[in-house]
Amino acid sequence: MTAAVLDQLQEVVEARVIERKKFKVPIVFASTTVLLTLLYGLSARDGDAQFMLGSSSDFVTIPKVVVPGMTTAWITIGIMVVLTALAFVLANAYKKSPWYATVLFCVAAMFGFLAWAGAGAPAVVNVVNLISGAVALAIPLVYGALGGVIGERAGVVNIAIEAQLLMAAFTAALVATVTGSAWAGLVAAMVAGFAVAAILGLFAIKYRVNQVIVGVVTNVLVTGLTTFLFQRLLVPNQLTMNNTEPLRFSSIRIPGLSSIPVIGPILFNQTIIAYLMYVAIAAVWFALYRTRWGLRTRAVGEHPQAADTMGIKVNGTRWRAVLIAGAIVGIGGAYFTLVSNGRFNWEMTAGLGYISLAAVIFGNWDPVRAAMAGLLFGFAMNLNNILGLLHTPVPSQFLLMLPYAVTLLAVAGLVGKSRAPAADGVPYVKE
């Protein structure tokens, strides 16, 4: 018997075995634990770490929590070792680690790391600021991820999220400055995202060009276009065309809700774009899972032939999904020039579109989970702002790597079995 036949046989046999042992999660747990142990062991820090769970203006004031830094760090290492061992035992018994073990592990790792970083530092680790900043930074990621989820659920891979964010940021800055209205800028951003989505749809759906190719090339196209227009138009006319500083959306405190301790300042003291984001997450979830439109969208992404047989127009449905997704990503693009900055700058999205794409995969193509993944990446990005204040011995470049390393680890290990919609990225040709 040849090796090929043996392989084939093995495949058949394995298909009947219930499941193979999967050590992915325990291995990621173990390597994270070892890395943190090395970090704490090699550069011990003396003193206490101070945590604050609220701001002084809260309705209920929560006192500062002071913990001994290194002791706390080592205790969390202990918890992590136990969880890792548990994960190994479970994997050895063909069982999956429960999701709350992963959450507990992440919280323990994070808390220990912050205790280590904050040990002996004069600055207080303000947990509320850390998380509310993360929510703000995550806004473009979440919008990008929502758009990505809709597109991929309909069977169109959207690598062009980056292009949509960038084009929207540019258009928002230009239109808002010229019209003097941030709202006009926001609408223009949605139109810009829509327009880029139309390019994607034209080539990917109508002309059936490979979607990854279209996406990557569209990113190059939009980067070149916005940089060119920025240099030729916006730079010479800075004040009349690229000045959203006086128009930026400011944070709105929602009375009542914002005085809830901890959660209030995190969730209910944000800009209008953040509130729209909460609505968008819920709306996309509802639309995808509870409406006829969503069922059809998912059907054409999963099994277009079957959907077609049932009388659903596959390419029409895909077009609609891609265009709606483009408009949603456009709102995220507006964040760059209407919230976080007072002007457009070339390549200001800095690859966040690609991180949104990672959030889509990390979130297993589910809008709520993808949004949570976006928040996680926002948290990792905000972490290096906070750590900068604590004067940790870790060089800043390594902290800047953090979100990317987290993404890599997440995509490689913690995702578990991620499965794309079956017809994701496959153009549909009616037979």
Binding site: D7, N210, T218, L221, E302
Partner: protein, 445 residues
Amino acid sequence: MSDETHIPTDPEVAKAAADADPPEDNRWKDAVREIFSASPWVAVGALVLAFVVGSIMIAFTDSRVQEVSAWFFQRPGDTFSALGSAIGRAYSQLFQGAVFNVAFAERGGFLEGIRPLMSTLTSATPLIAAGLGVAVSFRAGMFNIGGRGQMIFAAIAAGWLGYVWSGLPFPLLLIICVVAGVLAGALWSGLAGFLKAKTGAHEVIATIMLNYIAFYFLQWLLMTPGMLRGVKGTPISNPVPDAAFPLLFGSRYTVSWAFVVSLAAVAFCWWLLNRSSMGFAFRAIGENPRAAKVAGINVERTMVVAMMVAGALVGLAGTQQALGVLASSGFGDAVDAGIGFDAITVALLGGSQPIGVLFAGLLFGAFQAGGRAMQAGARVDISIVAVIQSVIVLFIAAPPLVRAIFRLPQPSQAALARKADAKARAKAAKALAKSGSQDGTKESA
């Protein structure tokens, strides 16, 4: 239907979905074939469209045009002449910066006049090498967007060894540095391949994340004394004149032996993809991983190897930067100069064929060299080159669109089938003749 509708419950469908992890099986092939088999008229049409788009962008952002268009209805002639001169100036600068400069020629004769052509070759050098790397990964059904990180690691290895071992004699040091750079690129890319093969992490995400990690790592090395930080105390690495690629035609032109290395890489890739069993395995897993597995190819290992070969070629581009144009000045954190991303468009335009990549690299090298001249001479920002390049690739990838715009005839299905049939017959006849000449007795049937 419930929430589960999106997960195929039928075991066979589920298995197919899981196996289709790179669902690109035939799509890559189709896309590549589509690009490669594009008739020359489609290519010409795409080029024309790209230049039309470029002209519109130049015209609408030209300050002189904006000025005279204010009195367009009084004197339309002014607007048109301003348009003409703005576009003409830009494209003439582009040509003179990429191929032949008339002013240089008047001063120093023909050899001086072709200096821009030589700088085109210099710009094309890393584009060809990196384009080959991306092309190899395409052929193996993977998408290597990690050119930036691979080039950075290659530059780190080459630049560091070139400085530390600068006492070694000339060809030895250069060879060591190039080999080290190529290996570094291969390892960094192999990491993405390993993650894909072992954990199913999508290589697009993995390579992009590795890009950022490499970038910040380089920044750290450049900021930290005792690492790559130059003796001048700036975040620029030390110059490595002893490890530099020697110039090919003397000091008049910038083109160096690195270009010859790129040509050799083209030949190597042609051999690898078309004549070697390893290249066959690459193409097999690219076209249909399941069939490849059944045929006895170790898909996971081949994936890792393909990514390593791709990374080695991109790494070559990194060493060409560090030991070529940047050898005498040292490099900063922009050592990759966007080549890792440009390489994707080069590979696409070249149809993922080594020879195609060579010509696409030369074309894009001409755009780079000409674009710099255009930016300096006509004050048109070089980013327009990215627009022109991406428009070319988009249109070449969608021949029906180009044909529709130019009213070219759409090839009929029958004609296409005839053509494919004739090609297959010719191939079969050739194969038969070959095997017949080798062992005619066996193939009598």
